[in-house]
Symmetry: C2
Subunit: 295 residues, 2 copies
Amino acid sequence: MNKLETALIACADRVTDSLRECLTAEDPTCEPLFEAMRYSALSAGKRIRPYLTVEFCRLFGGREEAAMPFACAVEMIHNYSLIHDDLPCMDNDDFRRGKPTNHKVYGETTALLAGDTLLTQAFATCASNAYVSPASVQHAVAYLAKAAGGVGMAGGQMIDTAADGKLNTREALEHMYRLKTGALIAAASVLGVYAATDAPTAEMLKDTETFSYNVGLAFQFMDDVLDVTADAEEFGRPTGSDDKNQKTTILSFLTMEDTLARVRSLTEEAVAIISKYPDSENLISLANYLVTRRK
Amino acid sequence: MNKLETALIACADRVTDSLRECLTAEDPTCEPLFEAMRYSALSAGKRIRPYLTVEFCRLFGGREEAAMPFACAVEMIHNYSLIHDDLPCMDNDDFRRGKPTNHKVYGETTALLAGDTLLTQAFATCASNAYVSPASVQHAVAYLAKAAGGVGMAGGQMIDTAADGKLNTREALEHMYRLKTGALIAAASVLGVYAATDAPTAEMLKDTETFSYNVGLAFQFMDDVLDVTADAEEFGRPTGSDDKNQKTTILSFLTMEDTLARVRSLTEEAVAIISKYPDSENLISLANYLVTRRK
């Protein structure tokens, strides 16, 4: 295992511990709902988003304990979106990360409420951050809510489902990707900045956003590539599904060669931007890792 | 129409105008989702919760413009909960406020996303309050998220649905009512306090909570009473449904006479607590109005 993978796993473990604390009911009569929330939120995931929060906080001189509540909030929102996306009225998926989906275990009603409540608790967790100023909390809540909301992740999901996965232009596809996955990845990073300071410069924010949207888009393009080229077992889920579902992907508009070139240029631009900051090796490793992965 | 009803309607109109502004997509590609959100959030409701926010803000010397973003946030959360409660996997209702429910008009997928997004935008709206300090925003977000979350409204909903509306003791029923409806009513009032000041005394908060939980519980008991006694047409929805569904209500544990006595004593206690503050006539009128209503 290389240095980055070791760091990712160690960070994921601390995030899981922290999430477990956030997701314990202080009122025992509410425990069944929290059990369903924990089932999804504590199950193994790469925890890329919280890693971004922690690393951007560190990049700008903040401590991990200040980043952790924001990191957990972003991860809760990621997990709420997965629970709701898996519901019968959305993608109707039976498995996620090799386990039965939330509604398969707890039923649709509880899964709906578990998703709702993870989203709600994310903001409670943001607001409970005792290591940052009230101004940082206000910025973090505003940014996260916008990124997860109607002109962010949920808006992207709406565009994708309304179009039934079929988008007419490359611009429309990239716009949907920016909203559906890019916005929350950017929020993960920007909340790390706010964990470090409540008065970031415009340049810090712009660099953080550009890095994150580039990495997010490259990641998404690689997903499209791997759906065609990867070995299903290694990839961890069935491949060829985009083609089978006649889903628009970047490969509907670009050749494989051009797509891989675009992935490289997005990543190179991200690395160039972040390289001007000292202590950016971990973020550079992450950007490179995400586009060389095989799953 | 009496003075309170006139004030309620005028406040409801200002809240609706404000909600319309909050629920306009800055990105036109996301407009279909915002349309579904507006369909529910802008449809006529009593707007009791935002009225509490505005009146508690005024009670403690704040201005309505400082209360309005918090009032809208609470109302968005109330409306998200109605959209999700009406879904087929929850109560499966076709009508709400005399109109087809959200999923009947837009389909389940959009209704799910519209509810999710109203909940998310509520926190964006809280954090956008430019008339209060960052400390007030932090308190408001923390209180609202807890009240709407797993040990608040969503927790109460979970208890209610898990028990299929059947609770064994009066204590269990009252606990469920406190979570399911009381917590958000208390949040509406407490956010009004935070709109007026970022450093309320413990007494101010305690009085505000006691008033709100009392009024909320009395309101809920009156709902149980009206389900038995009201004229369906005047009540605005079918009556006798609790009995038909074998749902536990306060009348499962108390006689009609004792229930009405309890409603009176809860209201009297609420009025007594709030009367010590000058300028509390509107809140006193509201407390009395909610338990003398016929619908």
